[in-house]
Amino acid sequence: MLKGGRSLERGVSLRSGARVEDALERLGHEVLPLEADGEMVKHLSAGQPDVAFVAMHGAGGEDGTAQELLEILGIPFTGPGVAACGRCMDKVQAKHEFRAAGVQTPDWFAFNETAFRELGAADALGGLEERLGFPLVVKPSRGGSALGIKFAENWFDVPEALVSAFSYDNRVLLERFVDGRELAVSVLGGEPLPVVEAIPQSGDLYDFEARYEIGRTSFVCPAELSSGETAALTEAALGAYAALGCSGFSRVDLILAADGPQVLEVNAIPGLTDTSLLPQAAEAAGMTFEQLVEKILDLALAPAGA
């Protein structure tokens, strides 16, 4: 059971980890809880686990770093593999993959910090209005849980929003704002779970606090959708999941706009806290949390390609 780590989402990971740990124990497994720290590899080597349950979010755990180590040690692990984790974690790379696979995703531009510092990229921002329009969304390329995401209503918000986003990563993207319903499709072993809709109760942004505080956001699962909408969302989600080469489980976040679904991102290791969306979707599909955890383990132990 790997949890914690140094990422900004450490707190969320600890909560996900604690829940999964309980479930694993109730399922009768012998659990070795490990903090992702300097001793992790030593403890993994000594403990010789049959499988590693990775409940880490953000840099270090969700980006393929921990997965790479597990591969070297020959320990099977839950969730997507090294390459897929890397693609999910980097929103810019993920969006390129979506485009290549014909999956709809909002238009965007991406910049490195060095492009602004050394190459005068600020002069290129002039093309933004024409290409993306306002408002637009500024986000760090790697990062989760809405940290560092800002809306720019007009030109004058852009520099400040970029400074904020660059606090989290040296690459940021400016993305066309797509108005619509916020939905999440969790995929478990290649199969879609019922669609969850997130309805923030306050403010205009589904932000970090709202995501993890009970009562701040209301969730509807299954979301009220026509069968056509559900089919379109599911197809887009499975397309995104496949485009990034995910396996095991992942969660695809989408906006349902007037002209159909647009994929925002794929979370390689979605949250498993009390307010997270994957457990809610599983429950709507008739699975208990224990059954969900067992299924995730089975997928990790299944022969490659399953």
Binding site: D22, R117, N154, W155, F156, L162, V163, F166, S167, Y168
Partner: protein
């Protein structure tokens, strides 16, 4: 590595959550946790220099003194010290409190004093006695971040009055009171930390203190004076507390042993006129019956020794030197557009950065440099304070402070440089032709604002902060 064996409850499913959600009191909708809880979860790493806490340095309290006093309690009064005590607190504790307040020139009637479980409980009990949902409560902007969750949990409407270098702007307070009166409303109380304010470090001037007390009298309004730091003065002249100026008719007073002795003993107090006190006592009975008897015995023993003034003086020496180190480091490592307060006491400095820097995001960059601070937003109810931060100088030594400020300075420098690259630096924002006409107030080389949260200097009563590089 693994935890000791224990039973854990089954996890909550989403239908359980729905069921609990239906049971939650209305007030939980507005209850707030500390905004940066998750980011702070990683500041516990040992390599992080945290300037975020508000911890006094308890390491200089002599362990032998502590041991001797606790031994004496065990030998002489074990049964009593392990027993419940009166809700109001022991008379002996109140005597110590009267002595402490006397050191700042106050002379409370011992019957007006209640011993509380920290100053935080005093805020809670006063709200419990006075605040109904929707009532207006007035406080400073910025205000003590720990007071906001209390006001929120009693569903108060919190109205914040701008602070400058001389504390709460009383002219703005008067305007606000006028506006409320037109709406047919009266605030339940005005909460102020007039001396070495948390988080801003500023002290209300004598003139403003007098006006505030006068205003309270004229309008028959209550003022809650929270004074945890008054005795931690290490420069300048002491000013009379509001309680002393008023005589205790309209000013309720909150004190604590946390910063002058120990926060671990959880001992604070409130002083209020008898009608208010009666309700506060009833509220405390319902909350916790009485404050820890054991720690009240400890305080009694400690005061009997008669060296408490020396101890506070020694803390003052330590904190002065740490403040000096921080101020010096700020001058060296923060950019010229930054400004900060220079407190003559207390535990905190409030720094304000160029308006385009959001300190919540800056914290993410700072944490990569292994340093933490409190983003200014935590001290406001309305999202203001985004470009400010609270810096604590009491918890770490001079070297840690210098290194911590150097690291924060490095993170700020990166933001400033980037903003410069994005906007063309001092020449103004880098915008396509035409866009610049609508530039409004954004200015990459903005002057530090005299106020704590960037409102224009239109008022002759505004007293600017010291500016970086200035006198």
């Amino acid at each position: 590595m693994s935890d000791p064996p224990h039973r854990r409850r089954a996890h909550a499913s989403s239908s359980d959550l729905e069921r609990y959600a239906g049971l939650f009191a209305e007030r939980t909708r507005v209850m707030r946790s500390s905004a940066m809880r998750d980011l702070m979860a990683i500041t516990a790493r040992p390599e992080v220099i945290s300037l975020a806490g508000g911890l006094p340095d308890t390491s200089t309290f002599p362990p032998q003194t502590f041991a001797a006093q606790m031994t004496r309690i065990a030998q002489e009064s074990a049964a009593e010290a392990l027993q419940y005590g009166p809700t109001e607190g022991f008379r002996e504790t109140v005597d110590c409190i009267v002595e402490v307040m006397g050191a700042e020139g106050m002379l409370p009637d011992p019957d007006d004093v209640i011993v509380t479980t920290g100053g935080q409980q005093a805020i809670d009990l006063i709200c419990k006695a006075l605040v109904d949902p929707g009532d207006a409560v007035i406080c400073e902007a910025p205000t003590y971040p720990g007071a906001i969750p209390v006001f929120c949990s009693y569903q108060a409407e919190t109205i914040q009055i701008e602070c400058d270098a001389e504390g709460m702007r009383i002219a703005e307070l008067e305007d606000t009171l006028e506006r409320l009166e037109l709406e047919g409303r009266r605030p339940k109380f005005i909460y102020s930390v007039p001396t070495f304010q948390n988080p801003a470090g500023v002290t209300m001037s004598l003139e403003r203190r007098r006006r505030l007390v006068e205003l309270a009298r004229q309008r028959e309004l209550l003022v809650v004076e929270d004074n945890p730091y008054g005795l931690l003065r290490f420069g300048g002249e002491a000013l009379p507390p509001l309680y002393q100026l008023d005589g205790g008719d309209y000013v309720l007073y909150i004190g604590t042993f946390s910063k002058i002795l120990s926060p671990g003993i959880r001992l604070g107090w409130a002083v209020a006129p008898p009608p208010v006190m009666e309700k506060v006592v009833l509220g405390k009975q319902a909350s916790d019956l009485c404050t820890s008897t054991l720690t009240q015995y400890f305080v009694r023993e400690y005061f009997a020794e008669g060296r408490w003034r020396e101890y506070i003086a020694s803390l003052g020496d330590i904190y002065r030197s740490r403040r000096d180190a921080m101020v010096e480091a700020l001058g060296r490592y923060f950019p010229p557009q930054a400004s900060w307060t220079e407190p003559e006491g207390g535990l905190f400095i409030w720094a304000t950065l160029p308006p385009y820097i959001d300190t919540s995001d800056l914290l993410a960059r700072a944490l990569r440099e292994d340093v933490a601070f409190v983003p200014g937003q935590a001290a406001y109810v309305d999202g203001r304070g985004r470009n400010s931060m609270r810096l604590n100088f009491s918890a770490g030594d001079e070297n840690e402070i210098r290194e911590g400020i150097r690291r924060i300075g490095k993170a700020i420098e990166a933001q400033v440089e980037l903003y410069g690259a994005l906007t063309g630096g001092a020449e103004g924002p880098h915008m396509p032709a035409g866009a610049a006409e609508d530039m409004g107030g954004i200015d990459s080389q903005s002057n530090p604002s005299p106020s704590i949260s960037d409102s224009p200097e239109t008022d002759s009563t505004v007293v600017p902060f010291r500016k970086a590089g200035g006198a």
